[in-house]
């Protein structure tokens, strides 16, 4: 004898993005804080030492913000024109920045006036950085040259003029104190060794390079330019590892998270995408209001700061994770009472009486088991079930239809219940997973309650709503079919193969068409 089989509710996969560990992690930020700057934010840099202040370069100022402060705790404003690329040294005590007039200023974080000024570039300097030995600065300017400066003497050590366009980005190797990289609008990324007179390696990115990044190990290089983010193996002589095309506008900035497991890219298309550095798949993405120019992530991923073209600085702080600990504490004694007596091993003389395991059935299952159709339908029309798990309601309706008792379950309801039923049907009938069942239900309701139409204003209104919903859906489907037809024609002109392929395309949905075409 078989036991009663509970109703199977067909769980549909959730549309949209899937919830993974990554989404949970990256969603763990509070609502962002918006700070208005004076101009487009071209650089954000976190101090590598606690308390992790960050320098924001916008217009002719450099603002230093504390972790939770919404007002700048310090401002460097001794620039005649726009400032660029304020960068911290590894110990967080010096700050270097380029400027529109071609000079490079070096500030002490505690002071106000520049400690040193490096003159040499004839055009604006968009790139400044410290080499990892802390005593040298590299820079790149719109005069196509990239220079190396000595901090103590404030003199130029060497100047490379190998790029044929503006040098706009670069970074220094953390492993070797002599190696730094610059990216330029001439579509190339060049690797320089301060001990040699010319560049060591040149990588063709294919688009004006907007940002470059070296992995902490120094072996992998990431370059962004155009719509592409490309990863290169430096140790293999600049071999392309992977090319990512996930943005639909120019990628402007790159950033690694503190563990080096995730790569972030910001773009003019208002998105920040997060990639896994093992699979190079997008694991999460953020949406912003305007085009993104710069982004930075604090150590331990505590704060995510994004700078926009309209001068807005968007700061997101991570939520504290204390709740879990609390709930675990509460659960422990409960678990102990739960297993109480279960671990008891019966002795030989003990007489065991087994207790039958009680199966817990849902209310609608109990009613379905005893063939009470109408009551089972009532049970799933209760607002909590109807609103949050409409698939349960639909599953019960389907089961009743299968049993042939749906009509009698739907009949004999008063105004309030019919109103409830019609609201549900009108709202859900257009959802593809519910359509087949709910069309039948709508049919039956119309049949059953046809004689009483006109007696209740509420029910009449619901009927009109239902009609409207269905009408809209039909129009929408017609439009979709038109689009599909158009696409079929387009694809038909692409294919040069036999007519069998054409037929395949016609009979398929959109996805298959794309797949088959990719195969060709």
């Amino acid at each position: 004898m078989a036991a009663y089989k509970p109703l199977v509710v067909q769980a549909c996969p959730k549309l949209g993005e899937r919830i993974t560990q990554d989404t949970l992690y990256w969603r763990g930020y509070k609502t962002p804080v918006q700070i208005k700057e004076f101009g487009a934010v071209n650089k954000i840099d976190f101090s590598p030492v606690p308390p992790y202040n960050y320098a924001v370069t916008a217009s002719s100022r450099i603002h230093i913000y504390g972790r939770y402060s919404q007002e700048p705790i310090k401002t460097f404003s001794r620039f005649r024109d726009a400032a660029y690329c304020a960068t911290y040294r590894d110990d967080g005590r010096l700050l270097a920045a380029g400027s529109e007039d071609g000079s490079i200023c070096l500030f002490d974080v505690g002071g106000k006036a520049p400690l040193r000024q490096f003159e040499g570039h004839t055009k604006p300097v968009h790139l400044v950085g410290f080499l990892s030995d802390k005593y040298r600065i590299f820079s790149g300017g719109d005069d196509y040259s990239s220079n190396l400066w000595d901090i103590p003497s404030a003199t130029e050590i060497i100047s490379y003029s190998e790029h044929t366009d503006y040098v706009r980005c670069g970074c220094a190797s953390k492993v070797n104190a002599d190696v730094f990289i610059t990216g330029s609008y001439d579509h190339t990324v060049k690797l320089f060794d301060a001990r040699t007179k010319s560049s060591v390696m040149t990588i063709e990115h294919g688009h004006p390079v907007e940002s470059v990044l070296l992995f902490p190990s120094g072996g992998l290089l990431v370059s962004a330019g155009g719509r592409y983010v490309k990863v290169w193996d430096v140790l293999k002589g600049g071999q392309l590892l992977v090319s990512l095309k996930n943005h639909h506008k120019t990628v402007t900035c790159l950033c690694l998270n503190s563990s080096g497991q995730r790569l972030l890219s910001g773009s003019l298309d208002r998105h920040v995408k997060i990639y896994s550095t093992t699979s190079y798949k997008v694991v999460h993405s953020f949406n912003y209001a305007t085009s993104i120019l710069s982004l930075a992530l604090s150590p331990e991923d505590e704060t995510l700061v994004v700078g926009m073209t309209n001068g807005v600085l968007n700061v997101k702080h991570r939520k504290p994770e204390e709740k879990n600990e609390n709930s675990q504490k509460r659960r422990q004694p409960v678990y102990r009472t739960y297993v109480k007596g279960r671990t008891y091993m019966p002795k030989q003389e003990d007489f065991c009486v087994s207790k039958p395991v009680k199966r817990v059935l849902r209310k609608y299952d109990k009613l379905l088991r005893s063939f009470q159709s109408s009551k089972a339908l009532d049970a799933v029309l209760e607002p909590p079930i109807m609103l949050h798990t409409p698939e349960v309601t639909v599953a019960v309706m389907q089961e009743l239809h299968r049993r042939g008792t749906l009509r009698s379950a739907l009949a004999g309801r008063d105004e309030k219940q019919v109103n409830l039923l019609l609201t549900f049907v009108a709202r859900r009938v257009i959802e593809p997973r519910f359509t087949p069942v709910l069309v039948t239900v709508a049919d039956m309701i119309t049949d059953i309650y046809q004689p009483v139409v006109g007696q209740s204003a509420i029910v009449d209104k619901q009927f009109l709503k239902l009609q409207e919903a269905i009408g809209k859906e039909i129009d929408y489907q017609e439009e979709l079919l038109e689009v599909l037809g158009m696409m079929d024609t387009l694809f038909a002109t692409f294919t040069k193969k036999r007519d069998t392929c054409l037929e395949e395309n016609k009979s398929n949905g959109l996805t298959e068409i794309i797949e088959t075409n990719m195969n060709y």
Binding site: M1, T20, L368, R402, P436, T500, E504, E515
Partner: protein
């Protein structure tokens, strides 16, 4: 015998078709099953004995009221047999001469039984007659003393019942109830109105009598149960009504004291009514399938229900499910075909509604039943149930694909499910469920069988009436946190001129896929999914296709509606040969090149076995059976069988099974049924001859054989003759030395058993060698049986119990020999 030589039914493959009787000590359950009567053990659910001897369906079994160790059985072949069912021995056979439709016994009626027979000269009219069982010597007796008790009774066993202590007999037919009182010789008739008012239907379906009171319970077609009292009076009779069933009441049974009444029907719910009142009732719901018969044991401790799907359920007196006995479950329609599970070698087909049954052929048992649809089945007529229609296994049996659809014609609710075998759980787990894989019915489905390559090469192809075939592949889930690592999704959709796809098949190496589209067979490359070539043999749609195997892998076999069997060469893309044959089943053997084709021509099925590289068949068996064969399957043998006959060489590696449209499972065997039955019956004989001593093991056989032949010389039972020599020698060797007879005596037996017997020894030769020992003689009889089997080939009508006169002659000789031998050495003690 209805099936010709060579075709034998596996045991238990046929449904228990008639009533069940429970037994006083509650140890045995007797059941009429096809031409046999089966004895089951109630405690272990085992089949203890199979009693064969009737030539047609057994219609009724009743215990002998004067000796509860004996059993009467009646059959459509017009005989009543008296059995000793403890030993499985037929004691007497009474020939009545007309079809017997039901059998009843009464304690009060001395040596006569009641049977229902068709009335002479009138069609569809039956009468209840009492048959006087003459007490004569010998086994075969004529029972011609018939006296009519009631006229116009129902044909079913459930339409007649005898009242308390045999005082009266009740019979129902249509809307009429008649009661005949034996003492007063009074016949009372009552009839209900035939008018169907308010959905009511007064037709009687069954009748039972109260064991202690004058009360009759009748079941009706509309689900009502009526309890009749006071029926001694023609006018003042009364009845009360109990109503719970919504459909026909199939059977009723009173408990021994009469306080409880059990009823069952299509709902598959056993209802227990207390004290004949409608307010007090208990239910045992969800018994699996409609109840056909209910019977109570004589002490009231157990009751059992017989279901339509070939299953017996044993139920405790407190209405608790106890255990069930089931063989091959009969489903309404085997849509899945016969599939062999590569893992267990079990036959897989539709079982209970929505379930897949794994049926072990070796043990005649259901291994397990896999719930595919996972929905509560409502037993109600007219509902559109969803059921399993297609099943496919991957080569190693790790993946199982199933398709289920609802019965609606226009918009079937289709689901494709993929199951993965879980080694830990030892069962299949659902991996992927695909709703509406095709827009219309799925016609065929197959996996790409590749033993050599890994799981990556696994591909599933489905063909549908929506004019496409779809290729499904496994997709690895990149997310490491996901619950399962793989799932299935669609990879390619192919079509051909908008024709309906009907069949699909992969070549042995998996490189080619053949898909038939109505009249055309298309061949696709399974790597690039390019159309390679097409074949057709107009007119007529392709009914079935398959690739050749091993050395014949360059051939593609197709069968058309118009009765052509075509063989195409894939290398030349040309028709190699074709034959005009209306093939309904085409089944390749997975282990050899052979392909079996079953044709259906004017009421007979014929079997052809051929290799694709030669158009001449290897084996032809015309008229395999009268029924239409719907499905066939090759089941690989555990180890290749030694087959001496050239003709049956193709059966060496696998065995062929058929399923006919009457849902009988048959197989083609080179051995006779008796040979295969002996082990179990012998085992039983050992169990019951108490006390068991090595002597009794050694001698009991001879004794029994002799005793039996003393009873009737003309009709020895076949299997007694079959007791083989070699096990006897084995027993001899395993018996401790100190209990053995003298070595000088055993020496001859032993040496003789080791001798290689001569081939084709005629009966005359055997007669000359009278001095030879019995063991040798038994060897000979084995030989003889082989030759007689060959003779049966021409005369297909060999009965189990019947013996040709030649055999009985040899039996006499054997008997003489045994007699001589036995006494000679016993006297030595």
């Amino acid at each position: 015998r209805r099936c010709p030589r060579g075709l034998r039914l596996p045991r238990g493959a046929r449904a228990p078709s008639a009533g069940v009787t429970m037994f006083a000590p509650c140890r045995y359950l007797l059941c009429a099953s096809g031409d046999f009567v089966k004895v089951y053990s109630v405690s272990t659910e085992e089949t203890l004995r199979l009693m064969g001897g009737h030539a047609d369906l057994v219609t009724g079994i009743q215990l002998n009221p004067h000796n509860h160790m004996q059993l009467y059985s009646s059959s459509l072949d017009g005989t009543i047999k008296l059995w000793d069912f403890m030993d499985g021995i037929p004691i007497k056979t009474f020939t009545v001469g007309s079809k017997l439709l039901a059998l009843y016994t009464l304690a009060s009626a001395e040596d006569s039984v009641f049977v229902v027979i068709p009335k002479k000269g009138e069609r569809d009219t039956f009468q209840l007659v009492s048959v006087k069982l003459t007490k004569g010597a010998g086994q075969d007796l004529e029972a011609k003393e018939l006296s009519v008790v009631l006229d116009g009774v129902g044909a079913s066993m459930k339409h007649v019942a005898f009242g308390r202590e045999g005082a009266y007999v009740v019979s129902v037919k249509d809307v009429n109830l008649q009661v005949y009182f034996f003492k007063r010789k009074l016949l009372n008739r009552f009839s209900l109105s035939t008018m169907k008012t308010k959905g009511g239907d007064n037709h009687f379906s069954c009748v039972v009598c109260h064991p202690t009171e004058d009360c009759i319970a009748t079941g009706h077609a509309d689900g009502k149960i009526r309890l009749w009292r006071n029926f001694h009076h023609r006018k003042e009779y009364t009845y009360s009504t109990l109503h719970w069933h919504h459909d026909i009441v199939k059977d009723l049974a009173f408990s021994m004291e009469g306080t409880r009444l059990l009823s069952g029907g299509v709902e598959s719910v056993l209802v227990q009514w207390h004290n004949e009142s409608s307010c007090q009732k208990d239910f045992l719901p969800r018994l699996g399938s409609p109840i056909e018969y209910i019977s109570m044991s004589s002490d009231g401790a157990l009751c059992c229900t017989l279901h339509t799907d070939n299953r017996i359920t044993i139920i405790n007196s407190n209405l608790r499910f106890s255990r069930s006995i089931q063989g091959l479950i009969k489903s309404r329609d085997v849509k899945t075909g016969l599939v062999v599970d590569p893992r267990t070698k079990a036959l897989v087909l539709n079982g209970e509604p929505g379930h897949l049954q794994f049926y072990s052929l070796q043990s005649d048992q259901q291994l397990f039943s896999l719930d595919i649809v996972q929905r509560q089945y409502i037993h109600q007529a007219g509902l559109k149930q969803s059921d399993l229609v297609k099943v496919a296994f991957s080569a190693q049996g790790t993946w199982l694909a199933t398709v289920e659809e609802s019965e609606e014609v226009t918009d079937p609710e289709l689901q494709l499910k993929l199951w993965f075998y879980n080694e830990e759980m030892q069962s299949f787990n659902l991996n992927t469920r695909i709703n509406t894989p095709h827009d219309n019915h799925i016609t065929d489905m197959c996996f790409r069988d590749m033993d050599g390559l890994g799981d990556d090469s696994l591909i599933l192809v489905t063909t549908g009436r929506d004019c496409v075939f779809k290729v499904w592949v496994m997709v690895e889930d990149t997310d490491p946190e996901a619950q399962q690592s793989v799932s299935w999704s669609c990879d390619f959709v192919g079509s051909y001129h908008n024709y309906q796809a009907t069949n699909c098949c992969f070549s042995e190496d998996g490189s080619l896929l053949a898909v038939s589209f109505e009249e055309t067979v298309t061949v696709w490359d399974s790597l690039t999914w390019d159309l390679k070539c097409t074949f057709c043999h107009p007119p007529g749609n392709i009914r079935n296709i398959c690739f050749g195997r091993l050395t014949c892998s360059k051939y593609l076999i197709g069968v058309t509606d118009y009765g052509f069997l075509c063989c195409w060469n894939l290398l030349t893309c040309a028709l190699e040969w074709s034959a005009h044959l209306n093939v309904v089943v085409l089944q390749p053997d997975p282990l050899s090149e052979h392909i079996a084709a079953v044709s259906w021509l004017s009421k007979e099925s014929s079997l052809f076995v051929f290799k694709p590289n030669e158009p001449r068949p290897v084996y032809i068996q015309r008229n395999v059976c009268k029924e239409k064969i719907l499905l066939a399957a090759f089941v690989p043998r555990d180890e290749p069988e030694m087959i001496s006959s050239e003709k049956y060489l193709w059966l060496r590696k696998s065995q062929l099974f058929f399923l006919t449209d009457t849902q009988e499972l048959m197989t083609l065997s080179t051995k006779s049924l008796e040979e295969r039955l002996t082990p179990s019956s012998k085992q039983l004989a050992v169990e019951e001859s108490l006390p068991v001593t090595p002597f009794s093991l050694l001698l009991g056989k001879h004794r029994r054989q002799q005793a039996q032949e003393d009873i009737d010389l003309g009709k020895p039972v076949v299997h007694n003759k079959q007791e083989q020599a070699s096990p006897a020698v084995k027993e001899l060797l395993h018996t401790p030395a100190h209990v053995l007879p003298s070595a000088s005596f055993l020496c001859t037996i032993f040496i003789n058993s080791l001798l290689i017997s001569k081939e084709n020894k005629s009966a005359e030769e055997v007669a000359d060698e009278v001095e030879m020992e019995s063991e040798k003689a038994e060897d000979d009889s084995d030989e003889e049986d082989v030759t007689t089997m060959e003779q049966e080939d021409t005369s297909h009508m060999e009965l189990l119990g019947e013996m040709t006169c030649k055999l009985s002659k040899s039996q006499e000789k054997e008997l003489r020999r045994i007699r001589k031998m036995d006494y000679s050495w016993i006297s030595a003690f």
